[in-house]
């Protein structure tokens, strides 16, 4: 059973769709992360490339993943921010070997947390310190410190080091996220 299947089962059969956003800078490993959620037998891929803006959607039953690059200068911002409106959880993928862009990751994270559609909600955020297998990779503790995650008070968050190529660390993170989304939905209903 694929990771995704587990996640879907864990959430149970619900009337309402559950949307999970997968965000991060380009080349951080989002596509690889999303692909590893898909099990061999139910591979429904739906890639929508737009000029300068890439969105990948992948849906099964009532669980949908939307992944996009937080790159491009300003112009496409509105496009991806549009997805903030109805999401239930966020997976933030970070290339932990890209030390140069850690400041950019922090900037994008801060911008996302300040966004009106995000800052009001108690959305769970899962951080993948991805590419942990690279030799220049920073530890998840160092990344959490560099991003100032301890200052996020109003949202549950979790960081796990991962290797999206081998799948290492993904499951731990996804289980945490599922648990959080479930709690959130049960409080609501």
């Amino acid at each position: 059973m694929g990771l995704f299947q587990r996640l879907a089962n864990f959430l149970g059969v619900r009337k309402k769709d559950v949307n999970v956003l997968v965000v991060g800078l380009n080349n951080s490993g989002k596509t690889t992360v999303v692909n590893s959620f898909k099990s061999e037998d139910d591979r429904i891929t739906d890639i929508v490339p737009t000029v300068g803006f890439n969105v990948e959607r992948f849906q099964n039953q009532n669980l949908a993943f939307t992944a996009f690059d937080m790159s491009g200068h300003g112009r496409y911002r509105d496009l991806w921010e549009h997805y903030y409106k109805n999401c239930h959880g966020i997976i933030f993928v970070i290339d932990s070997s890209d030390r140069l862009r850690l400041v950019v990751v922090k900037e994008e994270l801060d911008l996302m947390l300040q966004h009106p559609d995000i800052c009001q909600k108690k959305l769970p955020i899962l951080f993948f310190a991805n590419k942990m297998d690279c030799k220049e990779a920073l530890s998840s503790v160092k990344i959490a410190a560099a991003l100032g995650l301890d200052k996020i008070m109003d949202k549950p968050w979790h960081i796990s080091a991962s290797n999206a190529l081998s799948g290492e660390g993904l499951q731990e993170g996804v289980e945490w996220l599922t648990q959080q989304i479930r709690e959130m939905l049960s409080v609501k209903s």
């Binding site: 200068h73 140069l100 400041v103």
Partner: protein
């Protein structure tokens, strides 16, 4: 200088290493995808000027140093260019050391190109042919013969001989190498690269080298054959910066800055460059703005000059501090190309046209600035300072330069102004003016005096008119009323807001009197908010001081010189030194009943 809206910098400080200990010069740092993975690396030379340590070629992947190898000689310049179409696309990095060009691929040297020797000047060649042919050419004779030739045009061997102090050494040298002609090396001073036939970022490009003696070579990127050779200029010129625009196969322009303060232009097909611009002070750095074909030059007298492609000066401006280096900052997403100017005090100014639009700073004087893609990030500025530190700055995705009033590119004033033709009326008038100059002048003066008089009259009228003086700009009108027969009076001031839309706030009223004559119940008062088109009344009690023995009639009354029987009113706005309104109330004399 304006920053982003909230006064926040447009730059993210990604990394600074103050102990990097790097020494490098402009033209020695490039951003290139040396691994062929799309992950751009920083390639630079680290200069060492002492004899024992070798200069090094260093490569940074992101902020990490990943390769560090010694160079055979002191490098003068580094370029990166694509030499072939093979996948994966890996560019060649070429390092110029002395008169040789070392080409690296995958960070390994694979080819060495030597610039052809320069021909000896005729006199020197003559001397050495004699030396090689005759057995008995004395050291003294050689020294005298060489001294007669300008030192700078001699080969290295002749220069070396001239620098020897003892004739024995010269004789020794002569014996050792007297049988061969000396060679004159053509030292490379600077380089550039130029795309061959396509403007693509990864298009095949030719390396261009410029040498100490002013030769320019355009090389074939694959076999390093000389595709084109030319001279910088028809006079002696030592190139030290070369910039290229255009395509080698189509049409190109090379701009060459020389140590003599010229900027020369070399175009496709030319065998000799043309001096385009001549500067009176030393050139520090130069950039060629693509598209517009402008050249921006920084000189040692804190000036920046911009020239059109024809060499006409479009604008000049002065910088706050000495310029140490420059870099183009092309921003494709907003279709502009800015120029980063590094100043001696460690500040880096970003110019859009002649306007500084942003700045950022580093620890000390920047020695080299480059801007471009590094790693996965498109807009990275790398700065090496004279102190040896390296800083990486990333332009924020949200950086907005649009709020700044965009200045149009400077208009050329070469065309005459579109003046209308001289009409018959104009001619007649000018004839009349010449004929009756005196009368016309007198009439004019008379009218001017009359105008002044009526202006003065109006002013006096206005000043003496107590009821209702106003300040148009502040939209305030003041009138005063004096009640009573004395010695006790009541003065009622009325402040009217004549603005129909906005309320008046923050006003104060101050009464100024001579305390020998009047005592007031209220000297100063704050005025509350006056709503639009309404007025506010303020009252003060006035008592005249009647001193014995001083007859009130003795005091000058009315508009006389030392008029003391007045109350001056000042309406002021908080924190403003100049009153908004000032008025004088002439008090009536007290009718004393004795």
């Amino acid at each position: 200088m304006s920053r982003g809206e909230l006064g926040i910098s447009r730059w993210l400080e990604a990394h600074t290493d103050r102990s990097a200990g790097l020494t490098t010069l402009p033209g020695n740092m490039v951003l290139a995808d040396v691994a062929g993975t799309g992950d751009y690396h920083l390639v630079l030379t680290d200069l060492k000027f002492n004899q024992d340590t070798k200069c090094r070629l260093k490569v940074y992947k992101g902020t990490l140093l990943v390769s560090d190898q010694p160079l055979p000689d002191i490098p003068s310049s580094v370029v990166g260019f694509y030499a072939d179409q093979l996948e994966p696309r890996i560019p060649v990095v070429a390092v110029a050391c002395g008169s040789e060009l070392f080409a690296y691929k995958n960070l390994k040297p694979f080819y060495k190109f030597r610039v052809p020797f320069c021909p000896l000047v005729d006199e020197e060649a003559g001397v050495w042919t004699e030396v090689t042919n005759s057995e008995s050419f004395g050291a003294d004779k050689l020294l005298n013969a060489l001294k007669a030739i300008p030192y700078a045009s001699l080969s290295a061997r002749s220069q070396y001989i001239l620098n020897q102090t003892s004739p024995i050494l010269v004789a020794e040298l002569l014996r050792k190498c007297g049988k061969t002609m000396p060679t004159k090396e053509n030292i490379i001073t600077c380089m550039a690269s130029m795309a061959r036939s396509s403007r693509d970022r990864r298009a095949i490009a030719c390396p261009i080298i410029a040498t100490e003696f002013g030769s320019i070579f355009v090389l074939d990127p694959q076999n390093f054959a000389i595709l084109h050779q030319a001279n910088t200029c028809n006079v002696k010129a030592t190139p030290f910066i070369i910039k290229s625009t255009g395509l080698f196969d189509v049409e190109f322009r090379l701009l060459i800055a020389t140590r003599e303060g010229h900027i020369c232009l070399l175009r496709k097909g030319w065998l000799e460059g043309k001096c385009l611009i001549q500067l009176t002070s030393d050139i520090v750095d130069m950039v060629a703005v693509p598209g517009d074909n402008f050249v921006i030059v920084a000189t040692s007298d804190k000036a920046l000059h911009c020239y059109s492609k024809k060499g006409q000066r479009l604008w000049s401006t002065t910088t706050a501090n000495l310029v140490t280096c420059m870099s183009l900052v092309p921003l494709e997403h907003i279709s502009t190309c800015m120029v980063a100017i590094g100043l001696k005090n460690g500040s880096i100014q970003l110019y859009q046209g002649r306007q500084p639009v942003d700045f950022t700073s580093v620890a000390d004087s920047p020695s080299v600035i480059t801007f471009g893609q590094l790693g996965q990030e498109e807009h990275v500025m790398v700065v090496i300072t004279i102190g040896g530190s390296i800083s990486f700055k990333i332009l924020k995705r949200t950086a907005d330069f649009s709020s700044k009033v965009q200045e149009n590119s400077p208009m050329l004033q070469s065309r005459p102004l579109p003046l209308p033709k001289r009409s018959k009326l104009f001619l007649e008038q000018s004839i009349r003016e010449r004929k009756n100059a005196l009368e016309i002048h007198q009439t004019f003066q008379q009218d001017l005096i009359r105008l002044r008089l009526s202006a003065a009259r109006a002013l006096v009228q206005n000043l003496s008119d107590q009821s209702g003086i106003g300040n148009e700009k502040e939209q305030l009108k003041l009138s005063a009323q004096v009640l009573g027969l004395g010695p006790k009076f009541t003065v009622i001031l009325s402040l009217e807001n004549i603005n129909p839309n906005n309320p008046l706030v923050g006003l104060c009223v101050t009464f100024h009197v001579n305390p020998l004559y009047y005592v007031l119940s209220l000297y100063a008062a704050k005025v509350p908010l006056i709503p639009p088109s309404l007025s506010y009344k303020l009252e003060t009690k006035v008592e005249e001081v009647i001193k014995e023995g001083v007859e009130s009639d003795d005091l000058p009354v009315g508009g006389g010189k030392g008029n003391c029987k007045v109350i001056r009113v000042f309406v002021t706005r908080e924190l403003m030194p100049v009153p908004v309104l000032a008025a004088t109330i002439n008090m009536p004399p007290t009718e004393l009943i004795v």
